[in-house]
């Protein structure tokens, strides 16, 4: 609480008011982004030999917990850019690795374009295609849906189908890194939504874009295994953010419950108010313990054989956070319903119960893979 924050400073101008302000104005949090970039805070997971900080995943998660309890969902940008940088570090060609300095300092923004309107959660059914040309280049056409920050991205990691003949359905996907140098062949359409107002969402169409082989991230046709590993890290990182968001709302509600007097006593003296807050704190604390255990497993290499662990953590954290934010809103009453921090967190967290992984798919995964129950899908 009283130590240095994620910027390495004792106090920071980036707090709940900043989060509320940029969300209200529907702005990209430019100053926040720059502050992180100036300190190379987007290269935390990049290896030292490639100029990054090379911190452990456990340490990364601590940064997220701290940051998200102050700026809430803005932490998404920090998570996404760090994980993108790590992908370039782990899987990038010489060409892609040469982008690392600009990525780690935030001079260039990277985003992933995977989902498509018809594919939804079934990522393997995407239709965007890349066909090889005679000179070894690829030509990509297709449409992507719900791409976060799409138009602001300098590099888009686009997943496309490159073959159908693989023996497994998960074979045949390749990720290409597209720069925005072909503007007339890329079209963006902004999508309006109910929350996450600091984070624009786009549908994007690609019309015969030419990409060289040096821009392939990872092994051609084998992108799924690379992406699955990143998704595991992404789920844990986002879980940390949910816990921070829950704690952020909860501390506002606690403060209010201690001071606000109705019927001659503090509202926090009522069990109807205090028990849901206690319960929220207990559940957020359990989420954190569960998350930290999983982060240690990532660092120890044990996560490979426990791919369902991040699913469980994600499910637990998003629910604990949602309940904490909801109980906080109830505590604040009408004052929480007015435009402000808590109602924004309330609308933001709702998204994460559906994506990047829905609660239902998380449960299916635990039911089928961990408990060995029969599947209902094909």
């Amino acid at each position: 609480m009283y130590g240095k924050d994620w910027l390495g400073e004792f106090t920071s101008e980036f707090d709940e008011d900043y989060y509320t302000d940029v969300s209200e104005k529907e702005e990209f949090p430019e100053k926040f982004w720059q502050s992180l970039g100036e300190r190379s805070k987007f290269g935390l997971l990049v290896s030292k030999k490639n100029g990054g900080s090379g911190i452990s995943f456990t340490e990364f998660v601590k940064n997220i917990l701290d940051m998200s309890s102050k700026v809430g969902t803005l932490t998404y940008y920090f998570v996404a850019q760090n994980l993108s940088a790590k992908l370039f570090d782990d899987y990038g060609t010489q060409k892609l690795k040469s982008f690392l300095p600009e990525v780690m300092t935030g001079k260039s923004k990277v985003n992933l374009a995977l989902a498509e309107e018809q594919s939804g959660a079934d990522a393997l059914s995407i239709r965007t295609r890349a066909t090889p040309a005679e000179n070894g280049d690829y030509e990509i056409s297709g449409e992507k849906y719900c791409v976060t920050n799409g138009k602001n991205a300098d590099y888009l990691m686009v997943a496309a189908r490159t073959s159908d003949s693989g023996e497994k359905k998960s074979h045949g996907l390749t990720v290409f890194v597209i720069t925005r140098k072909q503007p007339d062949r890329i079209k963006f359409k902004e999508l309006k939504k109910m929350g996450l107002n600091f984070l624009p969402l786009y549908s994007i169409s690609f019309d015969r874009i030419i990409i060289d082989r040096e821009s392939i991230l990872g092994e051609p046709d084998r992108a799924w295994s690379m992406l699955s590993k990143t998704f595991a890290a992404d789920r844990l990182a986002l879980s940390a953010m949910f816990i921070g968001m829950g704690n952020m709302a909860l501390s506002r509600a606690l403060d209010y419950a201690r001071k606000r007097v109705v019927f001659g006593r503090e509202i926090g003296a009522n069990q109807g108010i205090q028990f849901p807050l206690s319960k929220a704190y207990v559940e957020l604390s359990a989420s954190r313990a569960y998350l930290e255990h999983s982060a240690r497993m990532v660092d120890g290499g044990g996560i490979e054989s426990n791919r369902d662990l991040p699913m469980g953590v994600y499910y637990h954290a998003v629910r604990a956070s949602s309940s904490a934010i909801d109980a906080s809103l109830q505590t604040l009453g009408a004052s929480g319903y007015l435009s402000g921090m808590v109602e924004k967190l309330f609308r933001d967290i709702r998204y994460y119960r559906m994506g990047p992984i829905s609660e239902q798919l998380a449960l299916v995964s635990i039911a089928e893979k961990t408990l060995g129950l029969p599947g209902v899908r094909e």
């Binding site: 201690r258 206690s278 704190y281 569960y290 255990h293 469980g312 129950l373």
Partner: protein, 380 residues
Amino acid sequence: MLDTIISYINQGTGKFDTHYWVEKDKKAEFPGEFLEVIRNLGLTTLLLPEEYGGSGLSVSDYVKIVRHTSSLHGVAAGDLIMAHNVFGAFSISSLGSEKQKEKLLPRIARNEVISSIAITEPNAGTDTLNISTRADRSNGEFILSGRKIWITMAHISDLMLVLAKTTKEKTRSTKGMTLFAINPKEHSGITTSRIDDIALRSLGSCEVFFDNVTISEDDILGEEGEGWRALTGILNLERLSTASISLGTGELVLNSATQYAKDRTLFGKQLGANQSIQFPLAHGKIMLEASWRMIEEAARKRDAGEDGMFEANAAAYLSASSACALADHSMQVFGGMAFSVDMGIELHWRNLRLFRVGPVPEQMTLSLIARHSLGLPPSF
């Protein structure tokens, strides 16, 4: 070492099947055969320091064994391990005088003692400061009078920790209460009466009457007037134990229900292929995982000598509520079969329900956390 103990538990206790526990529960009969086996495996002296002939296990390892044994045999088995280790081995070795240690620890090491703790009273359930059992000084001795309730295994206990008021002042302070360690079999004036209840029927829960029982100054455990402080460490370990018993038994019902959901076919497909059946099981699994990490954190803090009050209470609360929800869903998965006592499902459903009420009701835990961890004003 832990792996070795666990494999011994698997080998040594395999013969105590569902039928055994169901029969013991039906007849309200003590599981003496099981106790004999776990005594020989050393499970009753896990927290007894090595110098006294125990295993001297860390709390972090102890909770793993409680969890594992409960996941095979349920609440009664876990409770037996807790009573021996927490109210016997731990309490005497950490709080006992040299004289008490000399007298009791060899007997505990030789497994001659069944331990119990007597705090709760008919008029002072959770409100411990309001107890009316008294121990008054008289000619260098104490005269103990009063009545306790819900004392597990009191009727067969050789070592009972009894909390009594030792001050004459009418006070609600934590001072003035003293903890005594007595052997009820060595005193006249102590009678027990079994309560016909719905949980832990094989172990038995009792009312205990103390009618002018003469006890000695040497029976004080810890310091006179400091019973509350003495209890803190014991009750914290009790929370961690009940958390691990709940968790282990939660795993037991999860495993049974999952297996049944795979084996049972309805409308031409496996019962477990229905999301309405599998989602609550998957949800329960996740809740148990998170609860276990909380237990581990509380145990780590305790081993490190840090204050883990919040963690232990949170762990007990979460484990009990998660395991109860799973047991309830298991009743749903087994359908009509769950209502057959011989299936052994309702046994766990009944037993697990206990931990949402005792040793501390959920409401008290939430209230404690609200006040002490979140700084909210008192609600009563």
